[in-house]
Symmetry: C2
Subunit: 571 residues, 2 copies
């Protein structure tokens, strides 16, 4: 029973002030908030050993106006030459813009901004109007060896956007968000790289009105950052969406690109498949701004058939059964669900609280049947496609889940999840305000390494007292899946916090996980790249880098591990 007088923390409901640090680190729309529910708040206090008293005063709120203590370091003549290229209104050296466009959205960066401790920032922010602007800027910077960071939606969580030397940032989302062509016969679309997820999806959903198409389409790509990330950013980080298990990752979706590199533009060919040597298109995916600026891309699209969607959810008695069910489904040769997410016991318990199932009669029934809190695991999923296909999938999913003692819970939990699928990151500011950190790390893993890696990361995290950790897998393949770790802990100082992250990354690396399934490497995972991929592989990436960017101007300073970096050399 929730007391009517229960204490309510003073969650912030005021949009950040203009030109404040808070306006930079706040996730998403400035006037949109999502607060922890009472259940979640209670749970947090319990797990983190906190009391209402800890939630009385908001700290390091970042409400101060951005103020830099130094002018741009870049030579004035360069600034003027570049400003002239794009026009006055598309070039800025204001303190605010220099800070804003030098940061991504990682928890660590939010700390830096809350403390007004911004370190290296860019000198000049440029908003190119079209491909030719990008060509001119890149050529100029190449000629004069001026470092450059391409910036899409700014939602990097890998320190991938942090400048390490004086230079410029090139912002693609401002002007370069046009749809260049739509081809219904080939089921492809060509867009400028700065288009944001919702605009891209909206155009496809409205293809009949917008392009005179016969059908409506979908991109099939819905990363959690969907609302605040760009097509170019998806390609640069090798992104995956929440329906990737059917529609595919960037590796599957992007057919061709037009990338402006310091040594010229590379335009790849949009064939459905081809045997004309190693794929140049693949070489330009996941480059995280280190090879050049992707100005446009051609992507596969899919018929938009929301009316055929089939949702399902199950409770399993334990984590091992849940993983087995997921594996047998994705190895089942009957098609693949699009949304598919399995939560470990800890995430399941929190989901039960958030969805209001805990302590309900359903909960009692589940416990009675042996699905007990602390062991039971939730699976939610959805099938997309033709109606005959989604029906076949749901029927098979039921069959496979029953085999591993999955108890059917209807499609409702999926709908609940759907409602907030892009909103979870909004919780962060509230928690941060009271010294609580919520952060994530993620990895890919073949099936046979999953349990070992899962346990190892949890052991590493349990060393830290009063830390909650939730794990799920949400991208599935016949050969394996990803593991996504969400941890909630007390705020430490910045240096200690980085060490904390490094421990987890080192653990993932040591236990056979990929350094990233879909967030990318950036500067956060970079120090492990050489031992992870192997020196010969990294040398190959470096050779390509040297060929395309001989003066090393593109997103320099360690991204992808292309330049040697230690864990002590973070931006």
């Amino acid at each position: 029973m929730r007391s009517k007088q229960a204490f309510q923390p003073g969650w912030c409901e005021i949009p950040p002030g203009k030109n404040t640090y808070r306006s930079i680190f706040k996730w998403g729309a400035s006037d949109k908030f999502r607060h922890p529910t009472h259940n979640l708040y209670t749970l947090l206090k319990d797990r983190l050993g906190m009391t209402d008293a800890d939630f009385k005063e908001r700290l390091h709120t970042g409400d101060q106006t951005v103020k830099l203590d130094r002018p741009p370091a870049l030579n004035h003549a360069h600034i003027e030459a570049l400003r002239e290229m794009v026009g006055d209104e598309n070039a800025s050296t204001s303190d605010y813009d220099r800070v804003k466009y030098s940061f991504g959205k990682s928890a660590y960066e939010a700390f830096q901004l809350r403390e007004g401790n911004v370190g290296q920032v860019t000198d000049l922010v440029l908003h190119p109007r079209h491909r030719q602007d990008v060509i001119n800027i890149v050529a100029y910077c190449h000629r004069h060896t001026i470092p450059m960071v391409p910036y899409g939606g700014g939602s990097s969580v890998t320190l991938g956007l942090r400048p390490t030397r004086p230079g410029v940032v090139v912002v693609l989302q401002t002007h370069m968000h046009r749809i260049l062509s739509f081809n219904e016969e080939n089921q492809t679309i060509t867009v400028e790289s700065g288009i944001l997820g919702p605009d891209y999806e909206h155009a496809l959903n409205h293809a009949p009105e917008m392009f005179g198409a016969k059908y409506a389409y979908t991109a099939g790509h819905f990363p959690q950052s969907f609302e605040h990330s760009t097509v170019g950013g998806w390609i640069a980080t090798f992104g995956s969406g929440q329906q990737s298990s059917y529609y595919g990752d960037v590796g599957d979706l992007v057919m061709s690109q037009d990338m402006v590199t310091p040594t010229g533009a590379i335009q790849t060919l949009a064939y459905p498949a081809t045997a004309t040597g190693p794929s140049i298109n693949e070489m330009l995916k996941g480059t995280e701004g280190t090879f050049g600026v992707t100005v446009s891309a051609t992507l596969k699209i899919f018929k938009h058939l929301p009316q055929n969607r089939k949702r399902f959810s199950f409770m399993f008695p334990n984590w091992r059964n849940t993983v087995q069910a997921a594996r047998s489904i994705y190895q089942g040769e009957f098609g693949r669900p699009s949304v598919f997410r399995i939560s470990d016991p800890e995430e399941t318990d929190i989901a039960m609280k958030l969805y209001g199932i805990e302590a309900s009669s359903l909960d009692k029934f589940m416990s009675f049947r042996g699905y007990v809190s602390g062991q039971r695991c939730l699976l939610i999923g959805q099938a997309d496609g033709d109606q005959s296909y989604t029906k076949t999938i749901k029927r098979n999913v039921m069959k496979h889940c029953r085999r591993y003692k999955g108890m059917y819970l209807s499609g409702l939990p999926v709908k609940k999840w759907e409602r907030h699928r892009f909103a979870d990151p909004y919780l962060r500011e509230d928690l941060n305000d009271f010294g609580v950190v919520i952060d994530t790390l993620e990895t890919a893993i073949p099936w046979d390494g999953l349990h070992n890696l899962y346990e190892a990361v949890r052991v590493t995290l349990r060393i830290h007292p009063q830390t909650a950790i939730m794990t799920h897998a949400s991208h599935f393949y016949p050969q394996g899946t990803n593991l996504y770790f969400i941890f909630i802990t007390h705020r430490r100082n910045i240096k200690n916090y980085l060490q904390f992250l490094h421990q987890i990354i080192a653990c993932i690396h040591a236990h056979g996980g990929s350094l990233s399934h879909h967030h990318g490497v950036g500067r956060l995972m970079a120090p492990w790249m050489e031992t992870h991929l192997g020196k010969k592989s990294l040398d190959l990436l470096r050779a390509i880098k040297t060929h395309l960017d001989p003066h090393a101007i593109m997103n320099p300073g360690g991204t992808l591990g292309l330049e040697p970096t230690g864990t002590d050399r973070f931006p």
Copy 2:
């Protein structure tokens, strides 16, 4: 009615003599033959304006013993050093071996061998026993700048195996055909690159006996060369199998590789997906021996479920309807048939003859219904996977085909096709013996370019009198398909024949086709690579080549267009 006294050409039924040229160019097993049926023979005479008299004497049969007029050009000390590495029994400088391992299986190469006009051949044939042998050989050749061609099954049809300078050939199929590991949990297998298709598939089909697996598996990869090509060769040429429309091409199937390059071995990581920079694994596919020698690879495998297979075939009134049906099926979001092949009117007519349908009551019924010879087109296909999935697919295929006036013809034609799916190349020797050439070129094309390209190639071929051309598409994607041209014509001299091929390649290139969908580039398509991919793209491939193989020893002489070549500089 076939007369009992009908003339029968003297098709050769004698296995080629030991050490003869014929034993090199003959397709497949030496004691296996497949002769043109009477119907096909009659058709050929008609189309090519030939008479029985033209089929009386076999010409240029290549029955003479291989005899080279020159000793190995490679320095004796090098030959001895390399021989010592692998042991006497695994090194050969015999005339026969030098010729045998310097040739692939293209029609052009068969001409050269029939005439005993072999041009440049290798000096030394090496059969490495294991990875370490390959490492030693590559390191030695790198140190001494000795050209090297890796040789898998020898079924290249792109002049991809022809040496252009004195050097060595490294044959992978002799010893390096071991299965290194089998992983049922991950549904992957790791094999040495020299394993031949049937051995690979046999092991997977018998996984319960061979590896104690719970299920039987399939590779899902069945190129026409299946019986005589290796896993390494598939990867080197970016191959596709006849069931690729469901199981995927090499691009989808190969998860990781171990490639020995002149600057060291690169081992890529077998994750189901990963966001750790551009994919090194992708960079090492389709390299056609120019970057290094793939010694092993990890591939995806699939449950082997032949009991669930559903076959279907349809007749369509014309080519446009057939293409429309195929497109709507692969854009239908209900899963994908594995085998899928649509034949143009000419190929359909020949299939009708071969399958004995022509002039039958079924034929009369079809003609009556408006499916007339010269316009009607055949579709054959098959679904693989779980039973619920194959049923769903077949039901949907029926629906989509009906929409475009497809008349259902049962699954029998698929079974007929299946029986000979790997045997068609055996026809070649018989035709060649009487001065008739049968050859193929193939390309990938997005849907919106298909008809234009199809017509253009036919116009180009019609310039040549008495040439039969058949076209089909057999690899399908939502974004497009391939076009596979089979042409039968009179033998010309070698130079004229190359010019003939060049005309067709130039036509494909000019009309938007890819230079290859799944045969690869080799030296045949190489002269078009730079204009096809664009100079910047080819320069990128060249930079990688220079990094991995700085002395340019790996399959040198123009393969993939990495070195400039004109159409006049063929091996």
